[in-house]
């Protein structure tokens, strides 16, 4: 299926952090410890994009923006991409794919185990984002994709544990996540503006085309 305009715009925006990282890496401006910076930035981007994907559903029901559904898929896939990159930086750049280093690291560090579980759970979600898998799954697809909620919780736990002393940013993300969850249960899930103003109708159409 052809991507919508909304998806193309989203994909473009999602690639910007990667492009910045790439150019900073090439120009040597990723701090004196580039691998640490790469690890933190890919991780943070994955968290933000996963949170952004959770904003789509409440916004869609509130404003009747059906264009947000395909955008949600793009955001989810991009989050998975950054999470996978985050893992590759850890395993490849940082620990040089040396199992003698990586295995004890995983065994000793609870926050890495949490992160790996979250990444593992994202894999079936990413695979079943592809249209043709969705058709055969019917209601199971919805049930499977509810996994994103525990995954988000695990990701924030991982981020919290990986932070040194100052845990303000993971806590802010946790509050945002909690608010987004509240919008999924009544009465907040019922909020809707009713009839859409014309510009919203046009925006939706534009993003869907």
């Amino acid at each position: 299926m052809k991507p919508t305009r909304g998806q193309l715009i989203t994909a473009f925006l999602c690639l910007i952090p990667l492009a910045i990282l790439f150019f900073e890496w090439r120009s040597g401006s990723l701090s004196a410890n580039p691998i640490e910076t790469l690890t933190q930035r890919t991780g943070r981007t994955a968290v933000i994009l996963l949170l952004a994907s959770l904003v789509c559903t409440p916004l869609r029901s509130m404003f009747g923006l059906s264009a947000l559904l395909p955008i949600r898929k793009t955001l989810g896939l991009a989050a998975f991409g950054y999470a996978a990159l985050h893992f590759l930086v850890f395993a490849g750049l940082d620990f040089e794919f040396n199992l003698g280093w990586i295995v004890p690291e995983i065994r000793q560090k609870f926050f890495i185990q949490i992160g790996l579980i979250a990444l593992g759970l994202l894999i079936p979600l990413a695979i079943t984002s592809v249209q043709k898998f969705q058709r055969g799954m019917a209601g199971n697809w919805r049930r499977l994709h509810r996994l994103v909620y525990p995954v988000m919780a695990l990701v924030l736990w991982h981020y919290y544990l990986a932070s040194k002393g100052d845990v303000l940013i993971p806590l802010i993300y946790l509050v945002i996540f909690a608010i987004l969850m509240l919008f999924r249960i009544p009465p907040l899930s019922k909020i809707s503006i009713g009839s859409k103003p014309r510009w919203l109708v046009r925006l939706n159409k534009f993003l869907l085309s």
Binding site: S31, A32, N33, D94, F95, E96, N98, W101, F111, D166
Partner: protein
């Protein structure tokens, strides 16, 4: 020591020379700008913002440590720091500490001593020969540097104040001044920064009070004007911008012990066999070099300091 010296290891020598030229130029330009401003003209931007360094001391000329490790570049040492009093970002302190006031500065030395007194930083620099010590600095975050410090052994200072028989530990305190150090308003940490050493650790000749590095005065982000350097312990033990040194009877609680008692112990000796929940302590990355290297017990100073911990279980007293 027998390792052949690669040509790339010579760079710091050149750096020394280029820095001297740089300082000379800076001084000239500063003089010019002073002259211009005296004439009522706009002073040229740039060089006047440089810290007013004293002239570099004669360097030891070494470009490697005793194990043959190349010195970390000056720019990396001043550009990548942990100094939460200014910022939790690694490059934040470099920006935020530039106007940090390091003169006048005095250090109060007291507690269980016969001669409690305060020392000005200039006094400390003239009382004791300022010698160069090339030490490995191993951060608990699994990165490390090789730094040519300038300073003096702490025991020389302690000998002047004469610890009494009640003194068992040394407690150090960083300046508390949130107006100058905005990070001290961060309520996740119980500032002021406190660190401590057992008296015998403090008296060890490897333990120094640093006033400079690479032959220059310390930059603010590196802990100017006076910091501790204990090379066999994780970097956070080497407390910066010290205003108070007390000889005490009880083991002091450091800021990191208070903030994460399961993660940071009092001793904090570099030890590849005692894991940390966040970072690998078995290996480390040397800043400016690629790849991981094995972390050495006591950061490679085992021969000099291991006796201090005879009979102790270092996984309990971590």
């Amino acid at each position: 020591m027998s390792k052949p010296i690669k040509s790339s290891e010579i760079t710091p020598e050149a750096l020394y020379l280029s820095r001297r030229r740089f300082i000379k130029n800076t001084l000239t330009m500063a003089a010019v700008s002073l002259y211009l401003s005296a004439c009522g003209n706009q002073s040229p931007a740039g060089p006047t913002a440089q810290p007013t360094d004293s002239l570099p001391l004669p360097s030891a000329g070494a470009s490697v440590d005793e194990l043959g490790n190349t010195l970390t570049s000056y720019d990396d040492i001043i550009g990548y720091t942990n100094y939460y009093e200014f910022s939790t970002d690694k490059n934040g302190p470099t920006r935020l500490a530039q106007n940090f006031k390091t003169s006048p500065w005095s250090v109060e030395v007291g507690g269980y001593v016969n001669n409690a007194r305060s020392f000005s930083i200039d006094e400390l620099k003239s009382l004791f020969d300022q010698e160069e010590r090339i030490y490995r600095m191993r951060c608990v975050e699994a990165w490390s540097m090789v730094i040519p410090w300038v300073g003096f052994s702490l025991h020389k200072l302690l000998e002047i104040v004469e610890p009494t028989s009640d003194a068992r530990f040394v407690r150090f305190e960083t300046l508390y001044d949130p107006d100058q150090m905005p990070g001290q308003r961060n309520s996740f940490f119980p500032f002021p920064y406190i660190e401590g050493l057992r008296l015998d650790e403090a008296m060890h000749d490897l333990t120094i009070m640093a006033t400079g590095l690479y032959g220059r005065d310390l930059s603010p982000q590196n802990g100017a004007p006076l910091r501790l350097v204990v090379p066999w312990k994780y970097g956070f033990k080497s407390i910066k911008s010290i205003v108070k040194i007390d000889l005490v009877g009880e083991m002091p609680t450091s800021l990191w012990m208070a903030s994460g008692p399961n993660e940071y112990g009092f001793y904090a000796n570099v030890n590849p066999n005692v894991p940390h929940p966040r970072w690998s302590q078995a290996t480390e990355r040397r800043i400016g070099e690629g790849g991981r290297i094995d972390t050495l017990l006591f950061n490679g100073y085992e021969e000099e300091v291991a006796y201090l911990y005879d009979g102790m279980d270092l996984s309990i007293d971590f």
